[in-house]
């Protein structure tokens, strides 16, 4: 399992362009969209500035992108023979799936570490507690595992990368807009509110927001339970569909 994380770190060492280019979009949200929408004061975010409010949301959206597109790597590995070969090693198949999913967390954390300094630079006020910050990275790591597992599941019935690209977008955008990433849940239409309730991204954003921005941890236990359930369910589904990827 750990060896898959090591593999990811080694890949990153050789080539980081993808991480940089993926950081552009979230940075635009924080640098352009945040201040403009904050200026018109259209969205009630309590006493925190709007840009601060959306920073965790945008951060999570971008790390989720990273994890979901991680499935691409797996589709690629199926087209090449790597997956077939991995299946014939003594390593357990479950460890392989979980290891692959967790490796995406490594990428996600690197992604976060690029976006956070930019947010700091334009004046987003983070909770200045290293423990909180590290905890929020840990939550990003855990959540990425679950989202990567979704992508393994999707990859199991996508035959080509091209198709996977489209599906990836179609998963992330609804999750993003129907969550509390850009606005509080309570201003959404009722139907969307219900969706936001079962949307894993809402819980991840909420947890990271409380650790990074508000410092109000009252919802954190609930968020953590939700993320744990999400991970567990997705790991099981991904492990089952992993077989299908191979055949």
């Amino acid at each position: 399992m750990l060896v898959m994380i090591e593999l990811e770190l080694r890949r990153l060492k050789h080539d980081r362009t993808e991480i940089y280019s993926r950081a552009i979009q979230p940075i635009l949200w924080i640098v352009v969209y945040g201040p403009i929408m904050g200026g018109v004061k259209a969205i009630p975010t309590g006493d925190i500035p709007y840009t601060d409010f959306i920073t965790p949301g945008v951060l999570i959206q971008s790390t989720t992108f990273v994890s979901i597109f991680y499935g691409l790597t797996i589709v690629w590995e199926r087209e090449s023979g790597i997956l077939k070969k991995l299946l014939v090693t003594p390593a357990s198949r479950y460890a392989t799936v979980i290891g692959r999913s967790m490796a995406s967390g490594v990428r996600a954390i690197f992604q976060a570490l690029i976006i956070v300094p930019v947010a700091l630079l334009i004046g987003v006020k983070f909770v200045l507690n290293p423990l909180y910050f590290v905890s929020s990275l840990f939550i990003i790591f855990l959540a990425s595992g679950g989202f990567a597992a979704i992508s393994i599941f999707v990859a199991s019935f996508m035959k080509t990368r091209e198709r996977f690209m489209g599906i990836g977008q179609a998963i992330i955008m609804p999750l993003f807009f129907a969550s509390n990433a850009l606005y509080p849940v309570k201003i959404m239409p009722p139907l969307l509110q219900e969706f936001a309730l079962v949307n894993p991204m809402s819980y991840v954003v909420d947890a990271v927001r409380s650790l990074m921005i508000t410092g109000d941890l009252s919802n954190l236990p609930l968020d953590l339970v939700a993320i744990a359930i999400f991970d567990l369910v997705m790991f099981v589904i991904a492990s089952i569909s992993f077989r299908k990827i191979i055949e």
């Binding site: 593999l7 050789h14 070969k85």
Partner: protein
């Protein structure tokens, strides 16, 4: 003699429709180099994937070193190495890093890891390029790296699916030299799939010919050629058809053992070509069949294949497969 591989009435049906294996019975003795020879789509990959516990057979049984592939998969995975037809290394890291990752996957402990990696790098002649990205390797180097990765596990049996597909002749030769010396050093069994007759001919102790999911013939290269029964005279025929009556007439000659017509070529198997030739020419003349050109050969595996499968090993599928593999390596 202990058996490395055994299959009994193995059948594999994909999606309830495609019968990839149609009752395969097979025995491979320990320590042998075994070649599974057949054209594209014959079922070679399917058989290998069942033996390496990736796929479950639809019916029948298979054993690797007496472990059942269905019920004792994890025991089998501990003693085999497998190199798929496609690429099985990561191209965005170096060769050395690939070996390191696989060494960890195989559970080689940290004390002996460096030494094991150095050893396989040396035996595959790759010390000079170990720190380059795999993306920059040639096809032959990629294959050698894959073999190096497979050797790390010190397998009792090595499964190779089309080990030299898409390589130029000199790279093919280099790959086989390495494989042969590995085999000598480790006394391992080697099981490989190929559609190159010369490879099966040169490097294997035993050959099974597979066509349309069935093993059509088994034996050493010598035995197989012998079973064709003598020498082959090939007549290039103008026009595409030779009637059944012509084949019958040739076959009825006492000097002729077998006759096959395929692709404007009439292959006649005889004991001694020099003696039989004049009388066969007479028969063809009598039937009004003009022979454009005539050649005489000792039987090759191609003739063996023609005899038992009724067709020559085709090259059409091969070319498209090669370009596919190439494309994948480029895309890296």
């Amino acid at each position: 003699m202990e058996l490395a591989v055994e299959a009994r009435s193995l059948v594999k049906v994909y999606d309830g429709r495609i019968k990839a294996l149609d009752g395969v019975d097979l025995k491979v003795e320990m320590g042998k180099v075994f070649a599974l020879l057949g054209p594209n789509g014959a079922g070679k990959t399917t058989l290998m994937r069942i033996l390496t516990t990736q796929l479950k057979p639809t019916s029948g049984e298979a054993f690797v070193f007496n472990f059942d592939v269905v019920h004792h998969g994890s025991e089998i995975r501990r003693i085999v190495s497998y190199i798929p037809q496609e690429m099985s290394v990561w191209t965005d890291i170096s060769g050395y890093e690939n070996l390191l990752i696989y060494a960890k996957i195989y559970g080689i402990d940290s004390g002996s890891r460096e030494k094991a990696i150095e050893e396989v790098l040396r035996s595959m002649d790759m010390e000079g390029v170990k720190d380059n990205l795999v993306r920059t390797y040639s096809g032959g180097m990629v294959r050698r790296l894959e073999i190096a990765c497979a050797l790390l596990a010190k397998p009792k049996i090595l499964f190779l699916d089309e080990p030299t597909i898409g390589l130029d002749p000199s790279a093919r030769k280099a790959v086989w030299e390495k494989l042969t010396s590995f085999k000598k050093d480790f006394e391992a069994t080697v099981f490989f799939n190929t559609h190159y007759m010369d490879e099966a001919d040169l490097y294997s102790d035993e050959i099974a010919i597979i066509n349309k999911g069935k093993l059509v013939k088994l034996g050493s290269s010598e035995e197989l050629k012998h079973s064709v029964g003598g020498e082959v005279i090939v007549f290039g025929i103008n026009g595409n058809d030779v009637g059944e009556d012509v084949l019958e007439a040739v076959r009825s000659s006492s000097l002729v053992k077998d006759v096959i017509f395929h692709n404007s070529e009439l292959s006649v198997v005889v004991e001694n070509a020099e003696i039989a030739l004049p009388s066969i020419i007479d028969i063809l003349k009598g039937k009004g069949v003009p022979a454009k050109k005539i050649s005489m050969t000792k039987p090759t595996l191609d003739d063996v294949f023609l005899k038992y499968a009724g067709t020559r090993l085709d090259t059409i599928g091969r070319i498209s497969e090669v370009t596919q593999v190439r494309r994948m390596i480029r895309r890296g």
